[in-house]
Symmetry: C2
């Protein structure tokens, strides 16, 4: 039950909340021992704050929950490949793993350089990628239309 | 009067607040048209949150002040070279300029890759560098001692 796909569906539910708020639909959850301990969805427009990415809010929520800034045994699930800022935050948190859905060739952290994440952080890409991508595409199609 | 050094002294005052709180002493201010519109000092220990770097808090404060997530005409003054996370946030904010004091060869953004900042963001390094470095060194010497 507690598969990558299960938790990515939870991140997708967060992304839907972003979409409903008129935000670029990206969602994230942080999981420890099979439990979600942090959630976030992109709120950069609502908060008028570039730092309010889904991942940042989920990481902060998880750290608050644990009372610990290090998330060594946690996994971040996020619907889209993290940007440089969020990769940097994940590195500082020494995340156990990052799992993302859709690739982000323009602004994703993997475009810029290798080694942005903590060396111990495992990465799994492409989980529910089609659904994550479809959500992003529907948002941008609607914006343009 | 409103020189880079003047505003770096303001960032150093923020760094002193971090030091007084037992944090790694890094401070930042965001300036627009000669006015400070955001301040921050490193609070990662107090808030138990890796995202609570001086720069992030100052950028968020400035965006709140303006009601705008883009800080195109603003300058970020920070006592130490920003990390990848803070460089990423600066890029999203499309900052006009980043001015920093001490270089940070281990975790500074310039170590990882070029092009992490927005292409329009100007960079000036080494402002009050001796004082910024001395503050950092006194903290780590005290920690070790």
């Amino acid at each position: 039950m507690l598969t990558d796909e299960y938790f990515m569906r939870q991140a997708l539910a967060e992304a839907q909340r972003a979409l409903a708020a008129g935000e670029i639909p990206i969602g994230a959850v942080v999981v420890l021992d099979g439990m979600i301990i942090g959630r976030g969805y992109n709120q950069t427009e609502q908060l008028r704050d570039v730092t309010a990415h889904a991942e940042m809010l989920a990481l902060t929520a998880a750290a608050n929950h644990l009372g610990n800034k290090y998330l060594t045994h946690c996994t971040l699930y996020v619907t889209v490949e993290p940007c440089v800022m969020c990769a940097g935050a994940s590195a500082w948190a020494q995340l156990g793993a990052v799992v993302f859905g859709a690739e982000e060739p323009k602004t994703g952290y993997r475009r810029h350089a290798l080694g942005l994440l903590h060396p111990r952080t495992k990465v799994r890409a492409g989980v529910c990628a089609a659904d994550c991508t479809a959500l992003m595409q529907s948002f941008f199609k609607q914006k343009r239309g």
